[in-house]
Symmetry: C3
Subunit: 437 residues, 3 copies
C-alpha cells in the first residue's frame, strides 16, 4: 500500500472514530429519544428518512412495545452519596428499567444488581425489554463496596405509549433490484457492538451517494430484532427485490475479519465476501450460517430466506469486552474501522461489476496479437494480464460470471474485470443482459 | 452415564451373554435341526413365525439344497482313541460334510484336514455347502501329533431332501412401511460371528414389541446367503415396503463400531447410523459399501438395491479369532453386547422420530419470550436448548428433516427432537405428512 | 515388471529415441519445408494425408501467414569469422526472421540479440511469427565475447506467399465417433517440447493401425496455434464426432507425469487418464484446466469445448531447459518415451473397453460357485478376482461404466474388465449398446 493510500486510510479511520465518539454518550434503547438523536446525527451525513410505528402495532408475531425514555438513575447511600450513577455511564441502568423511587436495605436491592465477577472493574450491559423489571449494572468491585445499609434507589424513566423509530437511506440505482445494508442502533454506550457498524454503514452510504449505481441500495439504521421485525412486516414487497444483503456489526475492533454466511450459504453475496476477504485478509474466517446472532436471524428466517450475511471482525461473545463497559472508544480502532469500510466498498464493487459476458469469437482463441493484446515475441510465459484475458475469453460463454472466472482462475476479481473491460472495448466480449433475471 | 444406567446396562449385558451361552453349543448350519433349535429358543422371547422351504425349490438364481444333519464325527487311532471328536467341539467337522465311515492311512486323510498354522491351538471353521465333500477341522498342534498309522474316520451325518428353515418376527406399526433387521443363524459354535447379532436382534425385538411404532418392523433370523436369497425370492412385494434396514453381525466383541453403508450410501439409514455413532463412539468408523460381506450383499444386489447397511464392531476378517474356535464366549463381551443394543435402539429412535415439520410463524423469529421459550434478561449467550429451538424453527421449511437439522447444526438428534416437540406443543410447528411418501 | 517386458520397453525406448534423433536437425517453423520434411518422415511409418492451405486463407479469427523458409544465417566479424552460425544450430535465428544482409556496429545489432543470462551457455528459442522482425538467439557467453566492431549480419530466409502444412493419420474404427491425438510439429531443434510428443504419437498410431477398433482415431501433426486454428476451421463437422482427445507434449523427459484436464474437467478422458496414472505413477499430478498451454487452448475454446486434455511429463516453463538449446537429445530419455507410449496405449485401452453392462441376474447374487466362479470351501476371504466379479455384478445396472466400477471399487480397470469379460462369457452380463449415444 502506497504512502498516499495509507494516509488516506488513516484520515478515514480518524473521521470514522470521531463520528463514533460523537454518538457514544447517547443512551440508546430499542425505542425512545436515544435512537432519535442517533439517526438525526446520521442524517447530517446522508439522506435519511425516519419512520415511527406506534406502540401496540402488530408486526409479524410481535407487538411494538411501549416507548422507553430515561432521564436519571442512581443508588444513594444514607449520606446522599451516589454510589451508582447513570450520569457517569448509561450502562449502569438495566436497559428498559421501569421507574422506581424507593428506599430499601441492601438485601432487597441485591436481586436487582448485575455484575461481572470475572472482570470486576467492568460494568455489564443487560436489558429487560419484554418483562417489566428494574435494575442496575455495576462493577463487581462497586458491589463489594456496598455496606449493609438502606439505599435510596431511583430510576427516573418512563415506559409509555409512544413510537418505535428507525431510519432508511435509499440510494436509487439503474435497477430496482436492491442491496440491503443493515445495522442495529439500539445499544447505549457500546462502541464496537453498535457504533462500529453504524459508522461504517453511514460512511459507506456517503461513498456511494451520487455515484451511478447498477443496484439500488437501502441502508437500515434500526433497533435490533423488534425494529427489523417491524421493517420486514411493513416491507414485504421491498423484500422481493433484495438481491444481496449485509448486516454490519462489531467491525471496529482489532480482530481478524469473520463473515457469517446467509442461510442460503451459496448466495452471490456469500461468494463475493469470501472472495474479497481471501484477497484482503488471509486470516479471515468464513463461518457457516447459524440462527443466532444479529438481525440476519430475521432476514434469514425461513419465510424470507433473504441472501443476507453478517460481516464482523471479532465475533460477538468471543471477546471479553463484549456487552460490557470495556467495549468503549479505546476498544474501537480507527485503522480497523477504515479497513472495514474498504472491505465493504470492495464487496459492493464486485456486486456492481459481477456480470456475465459472451465471447464473440468463441471458436479457437481470437488473434490477440493483432489487437495489441498479446506479447509479440513468442517463447516466454504469459504475464498475469494475459492470463486474465485468456481466462475471461475461455469462460465467457454466457454461463460464467466474472466472479466464477475469478474463482476458477484464482485471480482477484478486479484483474478479471479489467480484462473483461479491455476485451469489451476490443469488441471481443458482449455483456449478457441479466437486468431482469 | 449415571450409576443406575450403568447398572441397567451391566444387567442387560449379562442377560444377552447368557442367551448367547444357551445358543452356543448348538451345531447350526444353513439347513437342519441346528437352526430349528436356535429359532425355537429365540421364539421363547419374541413372537416368531417359522418358515420352511423344501429342497429343490428354485429361489432366484439358486436352488434350496439338501438338508444336512449330523449326530457324531470323529477320527480314531488304532487303539480306539478319538483324537478328533465332534462331541467336544462341533467346529471339528467340515460343515456340510457328507457321511463317511472308513479306515485310511494318514496320507489319505490329510487332504481332508484343515488347520491354522499361525494359531496352532485354534480350530478353523470351514464349510462345503455346494460341493459334496467331507473333512475335519482341527488345531495345528493336533495335526502335528498325528502319527503315520491307520485311522478310523467317521462322519455320522445325513444329506437328504428336507427343508430350509428361517424365522421372522413381525411387529406391526402405524405405517405399512417397514424397517428390516436381519441376522444370520447358520454358524455353529461361533460367538461373535453369529450369536452376537442374533442375541441383540432378539433383545431389540423384545424392546420394541408392545410399543406404539411409526414403522412396521421385520426381524429375520435366517441362514446366510441361501436363506436371504430364498426370503427375497418369496417376498418381492414386502421388499417394496422396506424403507430402512440393518444387518447385525459381529457386534459383541470389544472393538470399536464399524458401519458399512448401503449400496445407496446416502440412504436415510446410512445417515442415521452415522449420526448416532458420531454422538456415541468417537472411534466409530463408517465404511463405504462393498459387495462382499454379510447378507447386505443380497439386499443390496442391483435388482433390489434396498437401503440396508451392516452394523458391526470389529470387521470380519480383520481379527484373528474370526472363523475360529477362538470366537468363543470369552471373546463375547457383555458390556459390548449391551452397548450395541443401545446403539440399535438409538438408531430406531431416530428413524421413528425423523420427520419434517413446517414453521407456522416463518416470517421473522416468532416471539419466544412471550411463550416462556427465551431467556428474559437479554445480553448473554444462548444455551443449547435455545439454540436447538432456533435451528429447528429456522430450518423447518418442510424440506429439512430433524436429522437434516441435527446434522447442519451439529446438535445431537434427541436435542433437536426435544426442541421440535416443545415448539409443536406451543403451536409453532406442524408436522409435514410424509406417511405415504 | 518381468525381464521380457523390461527388455521390450528398452527396445521401444531406443527406437523412439532414434526416430527423434532423425527429426532433430530439421529447422521447423509454423510453415515451410521443415514441416514438410518432418511429416514426410512420419509418413514412412504410418498412413498420412498431407494438407496445405494457401497464405491469406481466413481461418476463424486468423489468417494463414506467409510461408517462411531459411537457408542460412550468421553474424560475421570483420575478419570473416562466423561468431553466430545457423549451420551449427538452427535455434540461432529468431524463428520467422525476415531476410537481412547488412553491416552494422554492435550497438545497432544488440536490440536483435536474445540470450539467457541465467544459463549463459544455452541458446534461447524465440519466435516472431506475426510481427516482421529479424534477430539472433545466442548464448550469453557468446554475446559477452562480441567486441565493439562492425559485423556482417545475414539472414538468408524468405517470407512469401505459400502454404500452411499439416498432416493427419486417420484410423477408422467400428464407430464414427473419434478419438483425437494432437501434437505440434513447429518447433526446430527442440527435443522434449516437440519431438517427444510427435514420436510417441507416431508410434501410438503404428500400434493401433490394423487393429480392430471401437472408435475411429485421428492423429494430427500440426503447427501450434495457427495450424490447429486452421484445422478447426476446416473440420467443424468432424469436431462434432470427437468424443475424447489428448494433446501430447513434453513426454520424453525424466520428470513425473502431469495431466492437465480438459475445460470440462469431468470428461471421460479426464477420468480415464487420472485412473491410468494413479495405477502407473504414484507421483503423477493432475492439474486443473487453464487456458494457457498447448493446443488444448484451441480445442477447449468455449465455442468448441472439446473433451481434450494434455498429457505431459514435466510441465512447460517449469524446467530450465524449456525453450532452450538444452532441450536436446540428451534431455530426452528413451525409457521415459517408452513409458509415455505405454501410458497412452493404456488410456486408449480403457477408452476402447469402457462400456456399461447390465447384470442379467440382478436379484440377489447369482450362484457363482455353480459356474466355477467362486471358491468352493467357504470361510476364507475373497481374493481380488472374486472381488472384481462381485463389484462388476453389483454395479452393472446399466448406469455404471466399467470405469465407474473401477473407481468405486478402487480396483484397476483391467481387472474389472477381465471380470466383466468372464461374466459376459458366463451369460451373467450383457453389454448396454451405447454406440450411437
Amino acid at each position: 500500500m502506497g504512502i498516499n493510500k495509507q494516509q488516506k486510510r488513516a484520515d478515514t479511520g480518524a473521521e470514522l472514530h470521531l463520528f463514533a465518539r460523537k454518538l457514544f454518550p447517547i443512551c440508546r434503547s430499542i425505542t425512545g429519544n436515544g435512537i432519535r438523536e442517533t439517526v438525526s446525527l446520521i442524517g447530517e451525513r446522508i439522506p435519511l428518512k425516519i419512520f415511527e410505528l406506534p406502540t401496540g402495532t402488530q408486526v409479524l408475531d410481535w407487538t411494538v412495545p411501549k416507548e422507553w425514555n430515561i432521564r436519571d438513575a442512581y443508588i444513594k447511600t444514607p449520606e446522599g452519596k451516589r454510589v451508582v450513577d447513570f450520569q457517569k455511564c448509561n450502562l449502569h441502568v438495566l436497559n428498559y428499567s421501569v421507574p422506581i423511587h424507593a428506599k430499601m436495605p441492601l438485601s432487597e436491592l441485591k436481586p436487582h444488581l448485575f455484575t461481572i465477577p470475572e472482570n470486576p472493574d467492568w460494568i455489564p450491559y443487560r436489558t429487560s425489554y419484554y418483562k417489566e423489571n428494574w435494575g442496575f449494572c455495576l462493577t463487581h468491585n462497586q458491589m463489594l463496596g456496598l455496606k449493609e445499609e438502606e439505599y435510596e434507589v431511583c430510576v427516573d424513566s418512563s415506559l409509555e405509549n409512544g413510537q418505535l423509530t428507525y431510519a432508511e437511506c435509499f440510494l436509487p440505482g439503474k435497477s430496482t433490484e436492491e442491496v440491503l445494508i443493515s445495522c442495529h442502533v439500539c445499544h447505549p454506550s457500546l462502541a464496537n457492538d453498535n457504533l462500529s457498524g453504524l459508522s461504517v454503514a453511514t460512511f459507506l452510504a456517503q461513498l456511494l451517494s451520487g455515484r451511478e449505481l447498477r443496484y439500488s441500495y437501502r441502508f437500515l439504521f434500526i433497533p435490533g430484532t423488534i425494529g427489523t421485525i417491524a421493517w420486514l412486516a411493513k416491507n414485504r414487497e421491498t423484500c422481493k427485490r433484495i438481491r444481496h444483503g449485509l448486516v454490519l456489526t462489531c467491525i471496529g475492533d482489532r480482530g481478524f475479519f469473520h463473515y457469517k454466511k446467509s442461510r442460503q450459504e451459496i448466495a452471490e453475496v456469500d461468494r463475493v465476501v469470501e472472495h474479497v476477504l481471501k484477497h484482503t485478509d488471509p486470516s479471515a474466517t468464513i463461518l457457516p450460517f447459524s440462527p443466532y446472532g444479529y438481525d440476519e436471524r430475521q432476514y434469514c428466517s425461513p419465510g424470507f430466506n433473504l441472501p443476507v450475511g453478517c460481516l464482523m471482525r471479532s465475533v460477538w461473545g468471543t471477546f471479553p469486552e463484549y456487552h460490557t463497559s470495556a467495549d468503549n472508544l479505546e476498544f474501537l480502532d480507527p485503522n480497523s474501522l477504515a479497513e472495514s469500510l474498504v472491505v465493504c466498498a470492495s464487496v459492493i464493487e464486485v456486486l456492481e461489476k459481477n456480470q456475465r459476458y459472451i465471447n464473440l469469437a468463441p471458436f479457437g482463441e481470437p488473434q490477440l496479437g493483432r489487437r495489441g493484446l498479446y506479447p509479440l515475441t513468442g517463447g516466454t510465459a504469459p504475464e498475469l494480464e494475459l492470463n486474465a484475458r485468456l481466462w475471461t475469453l475461455n469462460l465467457s460463454d454466457g454461463h460464467h460470471s466474472l466472479l466464477d472466472i475469478a474463482e476458477r482462475s484464482g485471480l482477484p476479481f478486479d484483474r478479471v474485470h479489467a480484462a473483461a473491460d479491455l476485451l469489451l472495448r476490443n469488441g471481443l466480449l458482449a455483456p449478457v443482459d441479466t437486468s431482469n433475471s
